[in-house]
Symmetry: none
């Protein structure tokens, strides 16, 4: 991946103080990703995080009002990063089919570390997205939070890829449904292949998940 001098910009409604504005803030991001992976989001607390980073709990609160907001931030970061990867992968490509294919690959293949963003371990973050992100928008306050714009970056991914689908087949009726099905399906399959293999069919081939969803999309929209 090209090393560009860039930052993922996150909507300021998603934090109290920008974590990318200080060492402590970046530590919060780095080690919350680690800690959520270790113990799960349910048992994750700001107290445990603050012990891990040797800062007082109250300092964490200067960045995020509560752990739910931190999770929203992490998912937003992840989807903004995905948007950026899709943008790079479709740049200067003429064929609509190829652009779509490249986007699908990004959404369905295993995640690799991206050294452009030193304080985020994208592989671990992806595991959190798979395991915990449903909790981010399956909250009882989803409607309020949606209005506040908490899910914009995910919507952005969906809309961009929907547009690519419509470029290939302008009369296809269900682009959003298709693309959310693929994204979330692929994430589940990666989880199943690791934890509940009888729910999937990935034993033989590492690329079977990506292959499956590519076939699914192109068969459906052709």
């Amino acid at each position: 991946m090209i090393d560009l001098n860039i930052n993922i910009t996150i909507n300021s409604v998603l934090y109290t103080k920008d974590p990318d504005s200080s060492d402590l803030g970046r530590n919060i991001i780095t080690y919350s990703i680690e800690l959520i992976n270790e113990i799960g989001f349910e048992k994750f607390t700001f107290k445990k995080l603050s012990q891990k980073i040797n800062s007082p709990e109250s300092s964490v609160y200067r960045y995020f009002n509560n752990k739910h907001m931190l999770l929203i931030y992490l998912t937003s970061w992840y989807w903004s990063w995905t948007v950026y990867k899709i943008a790079l992968a479709t740049l200067n490509i003429k064929s609509s089919e190829e652009k779509l294919k490249n986007a699908i690959d990004i959404l369905t293949k295993p995640i690799l570390i991206d050294n452009s963003f030193s304080y985020v371990n994208e592989v671990l973050l992806n595991k959190i997205i798979i395991t915990e992100s449903v909790k981010a928008y399956h909250s009882i306050d989803v409607d309020i939070e949606n209005k506040k714009g908490y899910f914009e970056s995910y919507k952005d991914v969906i809309n961009r890829v929907s547009t690519l689908i419509l470029e290939v087949n302008p009369t296809f009726e269900y682009p959003h449904m298709l693309i959310t099905t693929v994204i979330e399906g692929a994430q589940q399959q990666h989880y199943y292949s690791e934890h509940l293999p009888s729910l999937t069919d990935t034993k033989k081939n590492k690329d079977s998940i990506s292959n499956f969803y590519n076939k699914l999309i192109f068969k459906l929209i052709s």
Copy 2:
């Protein structure tokens, strides 16, 4: 639906004392479904439940060791009930395509109340499955729990429908992947159509979700 004198049988590893064996137990099921819908699983506690049913907290503990086990029980009940509905809907049907189509309809159409099981409100339970069931198997202990058989009834659904897929197309490589994608995709779409409509395409037609997944399956396996 035919009124059969039947019960959903749940594996005894999923409870300490069978909730279907007493009024208190059935109350626990009925009102936990209500309460989880009201306040979300995160904020649901045995204390609040016990206040709602006017029984001591300690009595609830006789049935389930903790709220996670209760959620596992509820999801198991839901998928066992789904197995039963699929069994009924495919009984005495010769055509493999029709059997599959009937199963898909059950998995993708909106849930209706089933009066055969008086103490379970299936419509509310389905909302819990959509919103909270990921939390049931996205726990840090998933591998242990899988070994204990906590997810057998979901696997049962997947295996039965996979078999139907293979009846239609014996060479199809990814029956499990396809069916988990469809089941979970359909549930998400129902959730999105209510809470995050910009992530789906359901405005015009109530049956669009079911139509979409039917097309998807038959296009893919034909």
Copy 3:
């Protein structure tokens, strides 16, 4: 004072669990009165109380939801006890003037220990009433709390003495205003005579407060 086998009954909306129903509950009352006197209501916390009585904080919460409710309870107890003292002091007395005078004495003279209620130190409790009771009903939620009946026992005192005033002078227009002025004035004067003597005129004579308010009442209603 006659030793009667009685209890002050407190409306059950004022507690979560009746403190008069257990040793722990009675300890909470006894020692909260002590502790509030020592450090003031502002700095009083359930944690400090629980340390004083060697019980866990959470046990205190079984009796009162928060310290505000405890203060409401204490003031209610105090005014119910006052109603009881007035009832005793006016029993079997024919003269309206004498009944009123006896009631006024109870409301304006210094408080004496009443051994009928072993776990309440009435002298200390009275100091709390003088110093802190305004905080009980000068809360931002006074209107809601009034509807819930938090102040009924104080209203009871006022109404009973108002009735006595009207017995003496049935045409007097301001019985409630007069009696609240006297009760709260007398309490303030006792406080001032101890802490801010330049705001009162009590140097010479211990009974001057009671004398003053007796004169005030009878001059005004005659």
Copy 4:
């Protein structure tokens, strides 16, 4: 009221830096009055105030060491303002009775906005005095604070009006007791008429509070 080019002067022990010496200081006064009215003194914090006035918390600390000192300042301001109003209202009047009557009116009638002091909303401040001022001198440190002179302006009011009482009746024994009873009684009655009407008798007539206390005083000292 005559527009005089004047300021209420507050004893410098009541602040760390004079709030009337800067825009920020005057903002602290203006918006603390608003905020205490909105959320009550208990929940009022310098943090919330600093957010309201868009200044850092630490800047507020330059003016007042803590919120208790701010409350002392506000009550002092209020009573100094009252002294000033009484002075104006008794200027050039010969009759002692009339001077006393005018002073009583000021102390018992509803407060009106005084445009001479632009950054203080006297109506809101009076509500704070009614609701919260008891907390100012009912602190555990009252004796120390009294020695430091925190309550001088209230004492000033009491002494001036006591002098007026003694002008009318030089042999009256309880001028301080009478005047504190009237001032605090009247404030309570205004509170009760708004929040706990069953404790007062103000339904018919807006001026009944002032009438009552005028009658009370003149009947008692004549």
